[in-house]
Symmetry: C2
């Protein structure tokens, strides 16, 4: 994003800035943390995603002429606040869980240290990106597990905001999806793209036979033909007749997908096309994917349920002040509100994944002093920004690989699709 | 958006384009329509939103150097298709329901007429924008009704993708929300913004008293003080002590909001601040807003449930080919697939809202020939693009006003919060 991201911000962040500048408290050292009080929807684990996008957005978080003109002309900030914003560059430190790692209730997935003023105005940007991307990746990861070794195609762009679709494709790939239909995700993030044709292509032509021939002429026999526009059995017969046994795949988008897959598999085998694959699509989620495990399906296309987080469209992450100094260079002191039903733990957090000698995760250990990790424990926070400089960039492929390693540590209960408790208990250690 | 929107597109649209160019069918005249097979979640009506954003995105739908370089280097399109895309300008016609109008199952809220090639590649762009914005506006409209005359503040940006938050603020305003916290929505769409402070601001200061004084110094007595960081009754007492009876409002973000509002109202009145308002926030949706109708609440802030469509994060709109010519300039003929469980009606549609002499809506009439509206009927499709030229731009305020007029036509059953049938039956007339 080369546009400024500075106004992707809630107004109250700038009025708080102005209030703190007025009161002389803006430069107090502060720590904010991003965490989830609970996992949504009875999930067993969450997946960290969006960190890379956040770092890119942070780089573009600049109040230039157009932004300041809007803010001052609307009376949203006064002159001193506008002057402060004009020279704004985040100069603090940020640590975070690595993208692709798993998280649990209370995991401090992002820790932001800076002056109150420079950290408070990042709340909405950080939360928007992480809440969306973690929600999608967490749903995607379950779908990938449910599909076992069969590939998943992300195709939900049409069912979500046009830019959210791009981020969703990135998050799904990170969590193990094989490809996406979204071309911008291909260009911006290098996610492999896939896609062949819709019912409209068949309906455009004078017959299904004409349509199949047109597609084969343009894309070759390895393409995927959509066979449920009229009559599936007839379409499969025509498809193999025209493409021969080298036909790449057929796609079924309606009906009882398991039953259809069985019938089509038998038909393809009988027609001498045993290598032609069967792709199914149509309102799939992790449950319907799992239900098709015994059906002769070779790949799944997932749309709506992926981009809407399969019932949990937001990760419910919050951004909370947990410590601050009482003078500009005084020591950090823990703070926490006492609001009913929203427990907060004051103090800066560290986190390790406590593991046994076989590398099996036993607990998420969150502490308010720097821990001494046990011999098999894995520290979870890594530096992302040091003194304002972004140091945490990495290729998306690293996050994708990391996710598979993070899953391999988890106990089997993590992979139950049913609702339940988090797969790891979070242990809070108060070291102070 | 001044960036190209051309890659906010599913790959299969471009492979279909290539297939049609190869087969010589790309220039066949075609009609695609956007409609919902059903309303989500037992809703009584849907709200059209996003049309204005779609028209802006259409204007930026251009395949320039970076887009073509990506597509050809990845082998996604061949040279003839790339050349076709390079000169792409939509040259057809688009009609649509006006933004802010209501829709029902089968309502053709967007009708795109052009060559197959120029229309098929708009599928994802149109659906992404309309599916998101209609979902948000449809949820927002119910919240506005539930709040009766009390104002609603949209504050959900942090719980959705950073750009979806901007669009959500726009859609909520269109549906009757008073303000948004999202500054970019203020700048880009002129939505009024609101916002004062978070718990972090109180926690930053040495005491709640210091924090309140800082906020009052910066923003004046008309501000809204957040009173639930520690003890609500004590905070309210300090707030009125410092601000006097001119204190604008207090905000409560936790606990039993109805009970808290009653206690705080009594306290404010006893302290001589009867004009100080009470704003409540904290995971509100249309149901909890309605449940607070008898409580002394003056305004609601709504976040998560607004930006996630209150259980229906997508409007489930589809983009279907309904008619096409069999030669480049032949007559349009209806087409429809026969897929199981996904009924489609072929042929270009017109729509009127059938009304009685009092202007009360009786039915949504969708026909496959141009209708002769009755004396009280209201035609629903208006030209948005004529011969490639965008003619349907309008200020957001017009859509906002229109929505209130559209609601005023609906029968009382439209405003039941419970799940049920659409408030109007959709009557399909086959005029051919």
């Amino acid at each position: 994003m080369d546009h400024s991201t500075a106004l992707l911000t809630d107004r109250y962040e700038l009025t708080m800035l102005q209030g703190a500048l007025t009161a002389g408290t803006a430069e107090r050292r502060a720590i904010f943390e991003v965490f989830a009080r609970h996992l949504p929807n009875g999930r067993r684990y969450g997946v960290v995603a969006g960190t890379g996008r956040f770092l890119a957005a942070l780089e573009s978080f600049r109040f230039g002429g157009p932004e300041l003109e809007y803010l001052t002309s609307q009376g949203i900030v006064d002159e001193p606040a506008a002057a402060w914003l004009e020279s704004y560059r985040f100069s603090g430190n940020i640590w975070g869980y690595a993208e692709g790692d798993c998280y649990f209730p209370g995991s401090p997935i992002l820790v932001v240290e800076g002056s109150f003023a420079e950290a408070v105005i990042l709340e909405t940007l950080a939360l928007s990106i992480l809440n969306h991307d973690c929600a999608i990746a967490s749903a995607a990861s379950r779908m990938v597990r449910a599909a076992a070794d069969r590939p998943l195609i992300e195709m939900g762009s049409r069912r979500t905001h046009e830019m959210a679709g791009v981020a969703a494709a990135r998050a799904a790939y990170l969590a193990g999806f094989r490809t996406t239909s979204n071309l911008e995700a291909g260009r911006a993030y290098g996610v492999p793209t896939a896609g062949t044709s819709a019912h409209a292509f068949t309906l455009l032509h004078d017959s299904e036979r004409h349509a199949f021939q047109a597609q084969l002429d343009a894309l070759g026999a390895s393409t995927t033909l959509l066979v449920d526009t009229y009559d599936v059995a007839r379409a499969v017969a025509v498809a193999v007749e025209l493409a021969g046994p080298e036909l790449g795949a057929v796609r079924i988008d309606s009906g009882d997908l398991g039953e259809m897959a069985r019938e089509v598999r038998e038909q393809l085998d009988a027609l001498g096309a045993p290598k032609t694959k069967i792709i199914v699509t149509g309102d799939l989620d992790e449950y319907s994917i799992a239900a098709l495990a015994a059906s002769p399906v070779d790949g799944y296309g997932v749309g709506t349920s992926l981009v809407t987080g399969s019932g949990a469209p937001t990760a419910s992450l919050v951004y909370k002040l947990v410590a601050r100094a009482q003078t500009d260079d005084g020591p950090l002191r823990p703070v926490a509100k006492h609001s009913v039903g929203k427990p907060s733990r004051g103090g800066r957090k560290w986190a390790v994944r406590h593991r046994d000698e076989n590398g099996r995760a036993l607990a998420e250990v969150v502490s308010t002093s720097e821990p001494t990790p046990g011999p098999y424990d894995r520290p979870l926070l890594r530096p992302l920004v040091v003194g304002g400089e972004i140091v945490g960039r990495e290729p998306l492929s690293e996050a994708r690989d990391r996710h598979q390693r993070a899953l391999a540590e988890l106990p089997p209960s993590a992979f139950q699709l049913s609702r339940g408790d988090a797969a790891l208990p979070t242990e809070f250690l108060n070291g102070s």
